[in-house]
Amino acid sequence: MKARLILGLAAGAGLGILYAFLLAPLVVVVLASLSGGEVLAFPPTGFSLKWFAKFFGHESFRNALWLSLQVAVTSTVVVAVVATMAALFQRGLSRNLAGPFRTLLLMPLLMPEILTAIGLLFFLYQIGLGNTYLGLQIGHVVITLPFAFLSITSALDQVDPALEEASASLGAGYGRTTLKVMLPLIKPGIITGGLFTFIVSFDMFAMSFLLKTVGGNTLPLALFDYLKYDFDPTAAAAATVSILFALAVVALVEKLVGLRRAF
């Protein structure tokens, strides 16, 4: 009884510390962005929304936010489709082919992002896609694909193979079985994968840093550039906007399907 109490308290304390470390930066950044003072500092001095005004008034930030959104949304759509097809394809493979296929697809996850980015940079220049929006987009897809693939395959693994057999025996071909049985059953996995894709792409740094077009900054890059010369709370406002977008996406998914089902 006593041991249980102590264990419970210890677990609670551990969790508290963990949450503190996770949430403290968020709180600090958000509060700092609302500061009335002139430098990026914590605790904030006074209250104002002027840094948000400055952020949105800044053309390079506006362009960067727009580009980030564009890249992240495109990545999400492309990755959701490609990862779903890859996961369905892997399910059809025999066991000794499925393993290598999976490893190959997860490769970008195993390698440091910066190495993948450098490799891709050389490759894209070779095939004439260096310094293009398409190149940047490809980089984002490469990095985010494994996240979505993992989430979708784990949903797919939960699907009883007998359901496919039942569908086939009832006269449905592969197309109908996929559309009417498999996709509805793995929808939560696809949505979760898409969610990860959006957030990872929206926050991606190293890959964007190497593959960006001249003058085409994503939001994290714009923020980095800004911090090189200025150190006012606009940076915090930019970060806060970033956080708000991530939250907005999560909220949207929650509204659409309910996160409890998605996870």
């Binding site: 025996s169 049985v181 059953l185």
Partner: protein, 351 residues
């Protein structure tokens, strides 16, 4: 409704033979059961037929037409799975309608046919429920309805009752039999429960290590098994070593055992003097004036009867006595043998 012919079906998984030359003829509209112990290849046979796996060798013909080239979606069999395999995201109605939609049946007709078949399995009132909100028995009835509504050439059922409790299993047995009869549909059923096989089937195929050991009516395989394995698998059985004294009719013999001479049936043409096993079902024996001399070795009371072990020489046989019979252990009893239920088997131990 269709006649199905399986010939020389063989399948090995990574070198381990699962079925080793299955031959089976299922007459149109009949109910045939594959009966056998775990691992004898029943499911493998059924799955080859359904088209879920490809056999290594053999032929499958429906109404004389080879269907080996067709995938499961082209075979037109209604399959009922042990774990039901209902689509968890679809309502009862949509589960049952699935096969009709795949066949592009008009909407109005789908509604009518689904309603009709749900009525047959008494689930009309639950048509909007999701499968997870149904009991096991209800789920099984949906699975049955889903397979029946497409009016398939044949119904393939793999231990459909194995996950139900005893009482429900009993009710479902009748339902399956009744629906199959009403629809006049050919059915191939898999089970390892001999009582279920007997109750449901026109023909029972007893399987042994990837082959069919015997195919016959339930009465046939119970009363006239071809080998001890079949006798053992189809019900309670005892054996006595027996030597044929003489033939007393076509397929009828006087045989000598350790407990005396009795009349028994057997395959035609057994030679006098040859050694066999005399199969005695417990209900074939009753205390009587003349017959086998035995002593009561032990008994226990099960309510509807007393199960007794009788010693004859150095052999032991089983027998059921009425609950009220009063016999002390060690009592000498003469057992009259019902000749129609005593059957001669080849003695596999004899040279």
């Amino acid at each position: 409704m269709a006649q199905i012919e399986i010939a020389g079906l063989r399948k090995a998984y990574n070198g381990a033979v699962a079925i080793d030359g299955v031959d089976l003829n299922v007459a149109s509209g009949s109910f045939v059961t594959l009966l056998g112990p775990s691992g004898c290849g029943k499911t493998t046979t059924l799955r080859c037929l359904a088209g879920f796996i490809t056999p290594d060798a053999g032929a499958i013909r429906v109404e004389g037409r080879d269907i080996m080239g067709l995938g499961p979606e082209g075979r037109d069999f209604g399959v009922v799975f042990q774990n039901y395999a209902l689509f968890p995201h679809l309502s009862v109605f949509d589960n049952v309608a699935y096969g009709l939609q795949a066949r592009r049946v008009p909407k109005a007709e789908i509604a009518a046919r689904v309603a009709e078949v749900l009525g047959l399995v008494q689930l009309g009132h639950l048509k909007d429920r999701l499968p997870r909100a149904l009991s096991g028995g209800q789920q099984q009835r949906v699975a049955l309805a889903r397979a029946l509504v497409i009016r398939p050439q044949a119904l393939l059922l793999d231990e459909p009752l194995a996950n139900l409790d005893a009482k429900l299993r009993f009710e479902m047995r009748w339902l399956i039999r009744e629906l199959q009869r009403k629809a006049g549909i050919t059915a191939l059923y898999v089970t390892h429960d001999q009582a279920e096989a007997m109750a449901l089937s026109d023909q029972v195929a007893v399987m042994k290590q990837g082959r069919i050991a015997q195919l016959g009516s339930p009465r046939d395989i119970y009363q006239r098994p071809r080998e001890r394995y079949v006798a053992e698998f189809t019900g309670e059985a005892s054996y006595l070593k027996a030597r044929i004294a003489e033939a007393v009719g076509n397929g009828r013999y006087r045989v000598a055992t350790a407990g005396g001479e009795v009349i028994a049936n057997g395959p035609a043409g057994l030679a006098a003097g040859s050694r066999h096993l005399l199969l005695l079902r417990p209900e074939a024996l009753q205390p009587g004036a003349a017959g086998l001399r035995a002593t009561l070795q032990g008994r226990f009371f099960v309510g509807s009867a007393q199960h007794c072990e009788m010693r004859i020489g150095d052999e032991v046989i089983k027998l059921y006595l009425p609950p009220q019979a009063e016999l002390g252990e060690g009592a000498a009893v003469t057992l009259a043998v019902d000749q129609d239920a005593a059957w001669l088997l080849p003695d596999e131990a004899a040279p």
